[in-house]
């Protein structure tokens, strides 16, 4: 299993290290945000400010970019982010039932995070594994050919 996302924030020194890796080039912003989020689990206000300062670009721009892309989050998320595809190919093959099973199993609605901070449930756009629809992604692992019955079994691996 891949490394779990950490829910802690990130230290300025680490951000600085990441910026240095990209020679503090503002055009590397999307890559930088990827790296910082990988480290910290989300993009904290402090991290966004550090990035703006390090790249010498307006902090409003960094925030504007961070909130544009759905893979970035400016709020802490659960240790495991469950992204559920509800686009047409998954929808046609019963994604709705998968959503219901996940909500029921975790006791949270879509968009929510479990109180123990372990799971976040959210929609994603097509994961590009429509050959095995319906599909979900838990952090970086994809699960396909899902049935409501398989949901608890998969979640068990993470509990």
């Amino acid at each position: 299993m891949e490394t779990a996302a950490k829910s802690a924030s990130i230290c300025p020194a680490k951000v600085s290290e990441i910026l240095a890796k990209y020679s503090r080039r503002p055009d590397a912003l999307v890559s930088i945000l990827h790296d910082v989020q990988k480290e910290a689990g989300y993009l904290s206000e402090e991290a966004i400010t550090e990035i703006a300062s390090g790249l010498d670009i307006p902090v409003s721009k960094v925030y504007g970019v961070a909130t544009f892309y759905t893979l970035f989050s400016t709020k802490p998320k659960g240790q495991y982010v469950i992204r559920v595809c509800e686009n047409a190919p998954c929808h046609v093959l019963g994604a709705k039932a998968i959503v219901e099973a996940l909500e029921k199993e975790l006791g949270i609605p879509m968009g929510g995070t479990t109180s123990d901070g372990k799971f976040t449930l959210e929609y994603t756009s097509c994961l590009g594994v429509c050959g095995v629809a319906p599909a979900i992604m838990i952090n970086e692992a994809v699960y396909g050919n899902l049935t409501p019955e398989r949901v608890p079994l998969i979640l068990k691996e993470y509990k």
């Binding site: 802690a8 924030s9 990130i10 300062s53 307006p58 409003s60 925030y63 909130t67 400016t74």
Partner: protein, 585 residues
């Protein structure tokens, strides 16, 4: 050159001209909304779409360049339908509270709705429910009114280099906001108010303080004094239906008296005083090896910008208060004593072209009289509202004079309101004070006009004084970055926050475009030429105040009342910090 046919008529224009401008040459007024003559092309509202022969898609006239032989239709059923549906989409998300809106009758969206005869909106009326921002004393944001044209973004980033307003999130959730959705009070906003001029609707406006002034005027125990800023005498006319560029000083004074102000005095007087103090400060820095270049301090937007972005350069800024605050400190000391009025009973109002002045008046250090030196700052627009409400009509008014003892001013003070004006006024005085001889030529043409950064060299005695003038914070930033790198080889720099200087201030009448800024500025130079005194040190009222009250320039009283200090501020809002131990390293 390109020959294009628009609605059946031919016109020859430079290749690359937009369809919008080509149509203009034919007298065809294509409707626009996100287009602004001074700002980057957005092409996002899709109101100006037109049909081009041979193309399936409609194209935005504001952005699409003509090509030789192009055939354009601006008024087909398809075009009209697209414009109306797009307008309908915008209106369905807009509060439609035009009667209560600050931009009623100056709103571009409202004007389009009228132009297109919108009688029905078929989409459910749905607001985004975003919170208003009343966090500063200067600017109010009502994001629910925002139509996402992004003109303010271009103004804030490209022109003013402040980088405060930017789109965040996406799709129908997109919102133009300061970072993290904070209030303007928490971010590095100069409060210049240029975003208000960019905004086609009422999403950004000045804080309205008219009610406080009405109350003061109605209070028999208050002695209400108003000061009029240099730039307002060439702009208030626009609030009253006159074309830009009318010098209406005398009528303005008369109008203010009719509103009920007890005394109508002039910020131009303290502009002259600023020149004396600042000129002497400059000479002192030159003589004593003080920090150079010295930068002017009368623009509060620039000061706040400097405090946020260039805290390391604050020692370059003249310690002189702005004319508004010098006036405020003197009206409750010098004037109070002369008039025999208890300063606690004086209510000090200033009429300003500026939103940042509202913030400046609220600074805690601006209480040197022992009271709040300036109680309320009214922008030109707010005064316009009061005059209209009171039914005062400019055409009926006589020309009247400002009141003593702070009502006499010079042409040097008048041009404070235009970019380069403070520098020119300072040079007129510095030259004569330093050399003791009369200036051969009083007009410094090199520092006039709308070029972003202007430079000049003036021989004062043995010294070639090198000066620079920047207006608009984007231009200021260029000079300040050079200064930071040690490459700004000047003695004296004038910085004005707003493009065009105060004539283009964030509190000025709507519309304020580059063209209008220029017209107002020219009017100030015209006013200068018509005045009996054109050098600040020749102002008899200035001589009088030094003799009676201040003593000497940079003296003890001046130091206490007319000078100030600056506060380094954060570039970024405060944020929660991560706990960083070795483990995190």
């Amino acid at each position: 050159m390109a020959m294009v046919t628009i609605d059946g008529r031919k016109v020859e224009v430079d290749a690359g001209t937009t369809i919008l401008n080509a149509a203009k040459k034919l007298g065809i007024d294509i409707p626009t909304l996100c287009h602004h003559p001074d700002l980057a092309v957005q092409a996002v509202c899709r109101i100006c779409v037109v049909e081009i022969e041979g193309q399936k898609l409609l194209q935005p006239a504001c952005a699409f360049p003509v090509q030789d032989g192009m055939v354009v239709y601006t008024n087909t059923p398809r075009v009209r339908q697209a414009r109306k549906v797009n307008l309908e989409l915008l209106l369905a998300r807009h509060p439609q509270d035009c009667l209560q809106c600050v931009r009623n009758r100056s709103c571009e969206l409202q004007a389009l709705a009228e132009r297109f005869g919108m009688r029905e909106i078929r989409f459910e009326h749905k607001l985004r429910g975003l919170p208003e921002d009343h966090s500063t004393p200067a600017i109010v944001r009502e994001p629910d009114k925002c139509i996402l044209c992004r003109r303010c973004v271009s103004m804030c980033h490209d022109v003013q280099a402040a980088g405060v307003l930017f789109p965040s999130r996406r799709g129908a959730d997109t919102v133009v906001t300061p970072v993290f959705g904070r209030g303007l009070d928490e971010v590095a906003c100069a409060l210049c108010g240029q975003c208000i001029h960019a905004c086609p609707v009422g999403a950004i406006s000045e804080r309205d303080d008219t009610e406080r002034v009405w109350q003061a005027l109605a209070d028999p125990n208050k002695h209400v004094v108003v000061q009029t800023a240099p730039a307002t005498r060439v702009s208030i006319g626009e609030e009253m239906g006159l074309p830009p560029g009318q010098i209406i000083t005398g009528k303005l004074v008369a109008a203010l008296r009719r509103l009920g102000f007890d005394k109508v005095m002039d910020t131009d007087f303290t502009a002259d005083l600023t020149i004396i103090e600042e000129g002497n400060e400059f000479l002192k820095r030159l003589k004593e090896g003080g920090v150079l270049p010295m930068i002017t301090s009368c623009s509060p937007g620039w000061i706040k910008f400097g405090e946020h972005f260039y805290p390391d350069l604050l020692k370059h800024i003249s310690t002189c208060k702005s004319p508004q605050q010098m006036f405020g400190a003197l009206v409750k000391t010098y004037y109070a004593r002369k008039a025999g009025i208890d300063p606690k009973d004086i209510f000090s109002v200033s009429l300003m072209p500026c939103t940042a002045k509202k913030y400046e008046a609220d600074r805690p250090e601006m209480c040197d009289s022992g009271y709040k030196d300036v109680d309320v700052v009214l922008t030109s627009r707010e005064l316009g509202r009061m005059l209209r409400e009171a039914g005062i009509r400019f055409e009926d008014l006589p020309e009247e004079e400002h009141d003593d003892p702070m009502g006499i001013s010079t042409g040097a003070a008048a041009i404070f309101g235009a970019t380069g004006g403070v520098m020119e006024a300072a040079l007129r005085t510095v030259y004569e004070v330093a050399t003791g001889s009369e200036l051969p030529k009083i007009d410094f043409e090199e520092v006039r006009g709308l070029k972003g950064i202007k430079e000049a060299q003036v021989k004062v005695g043995d010294l070639d004084v090198r000066v620079a003038v920047a207006h608009g914070l984007g231009n200021a930033k260029k000079i300040l970055d050079l200064l930071r790198e040690g490459k700004a080889n000047y003695h004296f720099i004038e910085i004005m926050c707003c493009p065009g200087g105060c004539v283009g201030g964030g509190g000025q009448p709507i519309p304020t475009t580059m063209e209008i800024r220029g017209i107002r500025g020219n009017a100030l130079y015209e006013a200068d030429r018509g005045l009996p005194y054109r050098k600040s040190h020749e102002n008899p009222a200035i001589k009088q105040i030094y003799a009676e009250f201040l003593g000497e320039p940079l003296g003890e009283v001046s130091h206490h009342l007319l000078h100030t200090h600056y506060t380094p501020r954060q570039k970024y809002p405060s944020v929660a910090k991560a706990v960083c131990g070795e483990a995190a390293g």
